[in-house]
């Protein structure tokens, strides 16, 4: 039986697949037709996941850096080394960087290790600002930090709104579900400055100027309220502050919205009408890198709440996670602001509960994320990292100054070489673990092949480290850890490996009331009223700075594409996706910047002509790629750092990583 059932580990869709195993090697992949979400489909990345596993860059032995060179040591020696070093460093001077690709069990244990053994709250993922914002907005608004609708019912939808980045590239199979729903009759609208493939598939594509989606959403809410196309019964039964929200909308002037966004009034009115008339409506937006900003997310939440589409069967607000276990990592508290189960770090009762459960005193001192820790020259002395995270490589100098850098990973890469100690860990096909996809589906991926000798699962290494530091941890399997999680995290309380082995995942909340999980989050189950989130109307301050516009007339937006996904750290270990990425670069060997046909004509720019893209503090030379996909006044660069625009993005990257609503004012200069 060489085909083994599993879960794709690339994006937050969590498609079902079969891996073909021969002689302890993964030699092929095939989609799983019975999977409730992916239904027998995979994207280009998923179809090549086995290529990723052919790499010989495996780390097979624990390594300790000795005068700049790594030497192989035993696991005991490496653990002893870390235990001795860490004893001289106070907990608050240590930061942990988790991996959104690691399993729930591994992420939970990493958090427990950080908080209860090292006693630090500097615990985060990276490039996930959008996910944190999304969880915060949704928690405040409705109490659930993730997708409220059900993808299983999507094909019966009447209305689908996709806001922001290109889902066909980030989560192709979720985008495919949207496409199928559209073909089954749903009205599909996309709001995005760029003409994405999703936009091409839509009936309506509204292209607000970069950075103005918020205003457009507010305008839609205003139209909805004005036209009285709202369900007052729903609002009075399920929401707490609808009247003050509706009153606040009076500040939103439609003419102003038209002026700011560049979208015609009729289009706004028509789209609001479509939403109001629909019975079953969904909104989608990406989280993680390329997400919306929190203000825009709040406006979208408010719009859907006003339309009565939150907490209702057949409707919902659906944030989509870009990386496989991004949601699960948050569920289990790999965050400076959330404890496991989304308890706020400001909640004293939650701390006490955690102390009782873990039977250890905890430090409540507020933690920070890894970027904040590394940007501060003094903050930390030690860093623990799980798996590749090349994106924080811009802090290389600071990392080199640290007293201790511990890396847990399966593969060698430029980041691992910064470490003082490297612990080889199993890849995701070499051990058991659960992963939580965008739709809250917790799925068990079982071990398919044996790891190389000397390579242990992360939980086993962490357990050994905790024991060396005097904590009597006693885990013998990933399953042991899941049974502990189910006692602590209410959403996961009904989950067991026994259940997950015989099902294609269960969607949290999975508890006594919902032993088979929860498909769609319902208002009746919320246990509270929904809240409109004050998003305000910044009024005058929104006017695009005339001065800036004079010097930097273009708005540069950075986006992602299939193959450049996750900054290439994963894709570069494959053959065909890597080739595809190179194919585009071969057409534009110096990298490219997309410009609209109109602007190119106006500036007299030819295809592939070299230009300088000049921002306030940096510039880069790129070839022109004339595109029908973007608006006049806008430029677009795909998101991959190493190969395309290193210096430029290194200087500007902090802002660009925030979200796709962010743009950089730039100007174009011809070269030569």
């Amino acid at each position: 039986m060489p085909y083994y059932r599993g879960i794709c580990n690339f994006c937050g869709t969590g498609c079902g697949h079969l891996l073909r195993v021969e002689g302890n090697r993964v030699r092929g992949v095939y989609p799983l037709s019975g999977h409730p979400l992916s239904r027998g489909r995979l994207c280009v990345r998923g179809w090549h996941i086995h290529e990723l596993l052919q790499t010989e860059d495996r780390i097979n032995q624990p390594l300790i850096k000795d005068q700049g060179c790594f030497r192989q040591v035993s696991l005991e020696t490496a653990i002893d080394f870390v235990a001795r070093k860490i004893k001289n460093i106070s907990g608050r001077e240590v930061a942990f960087l988790g991996s959104p690709r690691a399993s729930n069990e591994e992420n939970y244990l990493l958090g427990k290790f950080a908080r209860s053994v090292i006693k630090t709250n500097n615990l985060s993922l990276s490039s996930d600002a959008g996910q944190e914002e999304s969880a915060r907005v949704l928690l405040e608004g409705c109490g659930w930090p993730a997708m409220t609708g059900s993808l299983a019912e999507l094909r019966q939808a009447d209305f689908i709104l996709v806001v922001g980045g290109d889902l066909t590239k980030q989560n192709p199979i979720i985008a495919s579900e949207i496409h199928y729903a559209h073909r089954a009759g749903a009205f599909l609208a996309t709001i995005s400055p760029r003409k994405t493939q999703m936009a091409r598939l839509s009936q309506v594509h509204l292209r607000p100027r970069p950075g103005t989606i918020f205003y457009l959403l507010q305008g839609l809410a205003r139209v909805l309220a004005d036209d009285r196309k709202i369900d007052l019964d729903y609002l009075s039964r399920f929401t707490a502050n609808s009247q003050s929200f509706i009153d606040g909308l009076k500040l939103v002037e439609i003419d102003k919205v038209v002026e700011i966004t560049g979208i015609e009034k009729e289009q706004i009115v028509r789209l609001a009408g479509q939403l109001a008339e629909s019975d079953s409506a969904y909104a989608f937006y990406p989280t993680g890198v390329q997400s919306l900003d929190s203000r825009t997310m709040a406006a979208l939440f408010n719009l859907f709440l006003l339309a009565g589409k939150i907490g209702r069967r057949g409707s919902g607000l659906n944030p989509v996670t870009g990386v496989s276990n991004l949601l699960g990592s948050y569920d289990l508290g790999v965050s400076p602001v959330f404890l496991p189960g989304y308890a706020a770090v400001t909640d004293e009762q939650a701390w006490e509960k955690l102390e009782n459960f873990w039977r250890v005193r905890l430090d409540r001192w507020p933690g920070r994320n890894v970027d904040a820790c590394l940007s501060d020259q003094e903050a930390i002395k030690a860093l623990f990292i799980v798996d590749h995270d090349e994106e924080i490589i811009r802090h290389v100098n600071r990392i080199n100054q640290l007293d201790l850098v511990v890396y847990f990973g399966a593969y060698h890469n430029s980041f691992a070489s910064l470490a003082d100690v490297i612990f080889p860990r199993t890849s995701y096909v070499e051990g058991d673990g659960t992963y939580t996809n965008s739709e809250r589906r917790v799925q068990l991926a079982q071990k398919k092949i044996d790891p190389p000798a000397g390579v242990r699962p992360l939980w086993e290494i962490l357990t050994a480290l905790a024991r060396a530091l005097g904590h009597n941890w006693n885990y013998h399997s990933a399953e042991d850890i899941m049974s502990e999680i189910s006692q602590l995290v209410p959403y996961y309380s009904g989950l067991t490996y026994e259940k997950l082995t015989t099902r294609l995942g269960l969607k949290w909340p999975c508890d006594d009331l919902h032993p088979e999980g929860t498909d769609c989050l319902l208002a009746e189950d919320a246990g509270r009223r929904f809240q409109f989130i004050p998003a305000g109307w910044p009024g005058q301050s929104l006017a695009y700075d005339q001065e800036i516009q004079k010097d930097f007339p273009f708005k540069l937006v950075v986006g992602r594409s299939n193959y450049f996904w996750h900054q290439n750290s994963v894709m570069k270990r494959t053959f065909i996706p890597k080739r595809e990425y190179n194919a585009l670069l071969l057409l534009y060997p110096r990298g490219f910047v997309e410009i609209s046909e109109e602007d190119a004509r106006r500036l007299g720019l030819r295809e592939k002509q070299l230009v300088r893209v000049v921002a306030e503090s940096a510039e880069v030379r790129l070839a022109v790629r004339i595109s029908r996909d973007i608006l006049s006044g806008m430029l677009y660069i795909p998101y991959f750092i190493d190969e395309m625009i290193p210096e430029f993005l290194h200087r500007q990257v902090v802002d660009l990583e925030k979200n796709e609503e962010f743009f950089l004012p730039v100007r174009l200069e011809k070269v030569g």
Partner: protein, 355 residues
């Protein structure tokens, strides 16, 4: 024709298992997917299962395989190339006629052109094939439109048709006949041919009206594709829906495109790997340097359907490249499997409105 009981069939497969690695359809218990797989446990074989989600192509043409191994030491200038032994006797049990037809297409392509593909040949050399008549079509099947089912006509060693409690068996080769003789199977009388024909006729008539209706349209679409009289807008419409995942090629029983890559090992050896590829990828035709003769996605899409349906391409298979299994329609994120493409071409011909 002969009669074979289920018990005898079990023994027969067990017997084959002594010489061959056994492949056949099994169920994944949790998802329900039917997988054509290497069966380590023969009790998992389910001949009544629906058409497997994966075609058996991977057995002869794996998703990823080492075709060469070499070691080169630049210091001593020593090069050693090792040819791998890919020959392994395999028995494919319960092949559906569409998949058998696909396999014969691959045979003609890999073995019957100017050159023989040695790696395919090694997998193909010792193969025992037992085909299985489809008593009823499965959703999305349209083999009646592509002349590749529901019953096998050639290429098998043994062909099974379930008739009541037993199987009608036909031998298609000496190997197959030898096995029939060894098991001393009782000959079925002249009425068996009538019975088999009735079973097949019943199966054909239970095909969807859709599939039968499309019969004419596949040949008309073929005609249009061959002559090139399809408007660019049709390809553009199809191209817009393409997610560029390559799945249509990977699930097609007749797609044969591949890629070759060198993978350097830590041990100092290099493996030359051959992997599935798809003409829908942008990098597929890319050359070193700055030149790609084939660019827009609709152009690439067009190539694939041209390859599947046009007359000139059919020459290499001696039949159309599509065997009517419907898998491309099931895996396509953009809903542009071959049947839908035929529909779009039909709309263009008749001037019907789309949705």
């Amino acid at each position: 024709m002969y009669w074979l009981t289920s018990e005898q069939l079990e023994l027969l497969i067990k017997k084959l298992g002594e010489e061959y690695k056994i492949f056949g359809p099994r169920h994944d218990r949790v998802s329900g997917e039917v997988i054509f797989d290497h069966l380590t446990d023969l009790s998992e074989l389910d001949l009544q299962a629906a058409i497997p989600y994966n075609p058996p192509r991977f057995i002869l043409f794996p998703h990823l395989e080492e075709i060469l191994k070499y070691r080169y030491e630049p210091e001593t200038k020593q090069a050693r190339i090792e040819q791998l032994n890919l020959l392994e006797p395999k028995a494919l049990i319960g092949l559906r006629s569409c998949d058998l037809t696909g396999l014969l297409c691959l045979d003609r392509f890999f073995l019957g052109q100017e050159f023989v593909d040695e790696f395919y040949l090694a997998h193909r050399k010792k193969l025992f094939i037992i085909s299985n008549t489809c008593l009823r079509p499965f959703p999305q099947c349209f083999c009646v439109c592509t002349d590749s089912g529901p019953a096998a006509k050639e290429g098998f060693d043994l062909d099974l048709t379930l008739a009541g409690r037993g199987y009608l068996v036909e031998a298609g080769s000496k190997k197959g006949q030898a096995l029939i003789d060894e098991f001393k199977l009782p000959e079925a009388g002249p009425e068996a041919s009538v019975l088999k024909k009735k079973i097949i006729d019943d199966s054909v008539s239970s095909f969807d009206r859709w599939a039968l209706e499309n019969k004419a349209w596949i040949s008309r679409a073929t005609n249009r594709l061959t002559t090139g009289f399809i408007k660019p807008e049709v390809w553009e419409y199809i191209g817009n829906q393409c997610f560029e995942c390559g799945a249509c090629s990977f699930v097609c029983p007749t797609c044969s495109c591949f890629n070759i890559e060198e993978a350097n090992q830590e041990s100092g050896e290099t493996n030359r790997l051959r992997t599935w590829d798809s003409c829908s990828f942008e990098g597929y035709t890319k050359m070193a340097g700055d030149n790609n003769p084939r660019k827009p996605v609709e152009d690439r899409r067009n190539k694939r359907f041209f390859c599947k349906l046009s007359y000139s391409q059919s020459k290499k298979y001696l039949r159309p490249g599509c065997v009517g299994c419907g898998r491309c329609a099931r895996v396509c994120p953009g809903d542009i499997g071959l049947p839908n493409v035929v529909t779009y071409i039909r709309r263009e011909i008749t001037g019907e409105a789309g949705e």
